[in-house]
Each structure stands twice: as C-alpha cells, then as structure tokens.
Point group: C2
Chain length 259, copies 2
C-alpha cells in the first residue's frame, strides 16, 4: 500500500498544513509510526507541532542539500509515534539552490531511498508542501507514492485543481510512474453557505470517488491550535474540527487498505 504522501495544492491557505498535522497525529494515535516532513519555508507544520524556531536546523533544508543525515534531520515531536523533519527559513533559498544540482527533482527521493532506516522506521510519511508548483514541491511529488489534495470549498480554490492534476500527470509520465492522486479532501466547509454546497456538488460531480466522504468544517478551534503548538486533536479533542480529522484518518486508513 501507499506509504509516502505529498499533501499538496498550489492554492494558498486551503488547509494543507492543518491536514498534514492532524492526519499525522490521528494516524500516530492508532499506533502507526509516522514522519511529517515540513517542506514549506514558512515552517507552519513545525510550529503547529511545537518545534521551537531555534531547533529547526538541521532539518529539511540540510537534508535536501545533502548537508545532514536523515537521523540528524528528524526529531521526535510532542506526539508519541510522530516524528518531524522541521523546516527553517533557509529552505526559502532551496528553490534557487536546487536549480544547478544534479537530479534536482530527485534530491528528496534519492535521500529518502539512500537511508536504509527510512524504509522501515515509519509506516507512513506525510510531506507538507508550500503553496507553489516549483522545484521544492516537485521533489515531494517525485518522492511520494500518492498525493492528498486539501481543497477549500471556495470558487478560486476550485479553479486551481486542473493545474495540479496536470502537474501530477506530467510528473507521473516523466519522473515518478507510481504517482497518483489518492484523494481530495474538502476543507473549511460551511454547510450553511450555498457557496460551500455548490463547490462540494461540483467537486463530487467532477472527481467522483476520488473525493473523501469526510469533509472538514470551518471551526475556530482549528485556527487557535497552532498558537499553542498543538494539533487540534490534542488542543481540543471534542470540537467539531478534531472530530472531523479523526473521521478523516479512519477513512484514509480504509481507502489505503482497499486500494
């Protein structure tokens, strides 16, 4: 079954980081060994898991450029069973620094494969991507078995899905033949709003069973959690946001088993 997932969408602010953190936490809670790789120079996934700004090197930047080993770049998070490879601001420079390197799209994939430890230590690896389709995101798509696409239930976000599916197809053809879209998750859904309902209807009509049955509601506790350095699953387990991510994780496990 698929083991490495890129959480990607070039549209900004659609819930990539929130989905990466909470899906990782929920999977760890079921006893899986999970690694979350933060590939976004903003470092929001590192913040959301409580990794201090002063403890982010070596991290993804060093690992991608071959400056640090896998073991040195990974740390335990506050969540049992969940490790994190944090992102520091230096990662912003990677987009340009990778250009002149050999196998520039394969750096992450080669580094993950080189380390015998990586193949067995974690049952699932999630990669949180920045809001772009540049070389850093390309590295995630080349490393991954599958792409999970968080999609905000709004018109502008819907517009960008075509460009993403085209990019996945291009990567599949030329760089990573096993890559496919494992699923689309509707986020920030507000069922009272006709806009959310319309977008949901459009997406389900267009993408069918690719769209998870579980949707994530807009819920302020989700937006509050990162300021405490905690996933919402830990910050407020009983809230609607946390409950939806628990349901999402069980659907994720079921879909992966049946794939």
């Amino acid at each position: 079954p698929d083991r490495i997932f890129a959480i990607a969408n070039q549209k900004g602010g659609v819930g990539k980081t929130t989905t990466a953190i909470n899906l990782a936490t929920a999977l760890a809670a079921t006893g899986e060994k999970v690694l979350l790789i933060d590939l976004d120079p903003q470092g929001n996934a590192s913040t959301g898991l409580g990794v201090p700004r002063t403890d982010r090197s070596p991290g993804t930047y060093e690992f991608l450029l071959g400056l640090a080993s896998f073991t040195d770049s990974v740390r335990a998070s506050r969540i049992p069973g969940l490790d994190v490879m944090p992102a520091s601001v230096e990662l912003a420079g990677a987009e340009i620094e990778l250009i002149d390197l050999d196998r520039r799209e394969h750096r992450l994939a080669d580094a993950l494969r080189k380390d015998p430890d990586a193949a067995t230590r974690w049952t699932t690896i999630l990669i949180d991507c920045p809001p772009s389709l540049g070389l850093v995101t390309l590295n995630a798509l080349v490393s991954a078995d599958a792409v999970l696409v968080p999609l905000q239930a709004e018109f502008l976000a819907l517009e960008g899905v075509g460009a993403l599916t085209k990019t996945v197809e291009r990567v599949k053809k030329s760089l990573n033949p096993r890559l496919h879209i494992s699923g689309i998750v509707l986020t920030m859904m507000d069922r009272r709003m006709t806009l959310s309902q319309q977008v949901e209807a459009d997406v389900r009509q267009h993408f069918g069973t690719l769209v998870f049955g579980t949707t994530v509601p807009r819920n302020v506790r989700i937006a509050e959690a990162p300021s405490h350095g905690l996933p919402v699953l830990v910050y407020d387990h009983a809230c609607a946001g946390a409950q939806s991510y628990i349901l999402l994780a069980s659907e994720f496990i079921r879909r992966r088993r049946d794939a």
Copy 2:
C-alpha cells in the same frame, strides 16, 4: 507620491488577490487610471476581473520574458478606468526560466521603465503576487515603490510577517532603495472571535501606524464574487465586504497623500 504597489505576503490565502482587485476597482471609481498586473500563475486576479482563460496571452509571462510589448500585454477590464495585465499558466515556468537571464530580478522593473507610455498612462499600478518569495515576487518588489501587506487575522499568518519584512529590507538594501512597507491590512476579521481580536491587538502593538485603521471583515459575498468574474464592489456594492474596501481605498488615498 508612491505609484507602484506590490500586494505581497508569502502566506497563502490571506486575501492578496481580493485586496488587489477591490482596491484597484475602488481607485478606478474615484477617477484614477489604474493597472492591475497579475503575477500569480494561478491567474486569480485575471479570473476575478472576468478575463477569459482564452484571452490571457500575451500577458505577464510574455511581458516579463520580453516576448511582447507593454501595449500588447495589457487589456481593458470590465471596470472603467481599470486595465489588467493577465496571467496565464505559462507564468508557472517563469520562476525557473528567469534564473539564467541577465538582471533576472529587474526584468519587470526594466520593462516597465522602458515603455514611455507606462509612466503616464496610469496613476496607480498594483501588482498581485503569488504566495512565495521567489524570483517572480522579487521582480514585483524591485519594480514597486511600496508594498501593501494583506494579513489574515490568524496565528499562522502572523508568524510569517517577520520573514516578509526581512525580505523587504534585503531588497531595499541591494536592489531597490525606494522600497518600503506602505501598510498592513487586516483581512478576514471576525470580531466575534477572540483569535481575531488577539491577532489585531498583537499586530497594532508591533507595527503601530503601519496598520490600516480599516479592517476587512470575513464576508461570504467576497468569496462568491470571483465566480461571477466581478469584484465584490460591483457584485454586491452594499455588503459589508464591499463597504470595507471602499473605506480601505479612501484611507489608502489619504495615507499616500500624507506620506
């Protein structure tokens, strides 16, 4: 007074495009001649102004790479007094294609300066930036007199402001000495939520008068407008979202006059 503004923030989904479209529309409504340059490969500003996908070339991509003249790359929008330079998907390739070019950070600035028409035809030029601090955004920062920063009233968005102000300082020192941050606009404010109130208090304490007095409320009519290819100012003039952008435009004009 400042004439060219980059609407920038590397955090995704904070309201850059929405602010660029509606501020441009409101300024045009006061009789100014405005140009909106869409520098985001997603082309959301072009969509929000109703430019069909089939009418986006030549646009920003061709202009940036010197493949088309200024006049050919600009079109009238549906809004009187507002012209637009649209973005097509090809722009996604610009991040890599610019790398090997001479004066790669200055391409947009040089092209704007080269055309005598540009200096007089528009009283204000707004540049909608993608959610990153790569070469395309750098081109906007080198061309601009000032940066307007839309800031979502949420914790993760607040985190990224430091990286943006550092980048602006770096560009000011090495590439564009006139660049400065003209203001920070709080977007998607929900006054009922303590999170929004806390972020607003933090931002005003930290940035003082740099923060616009006008804030933009979260308002579903704003999210509906792009599906009609219209700015919310035209789609639903009386709604709270549209009214806040009218107030924002008058504060923008006042601040620019008094600067």
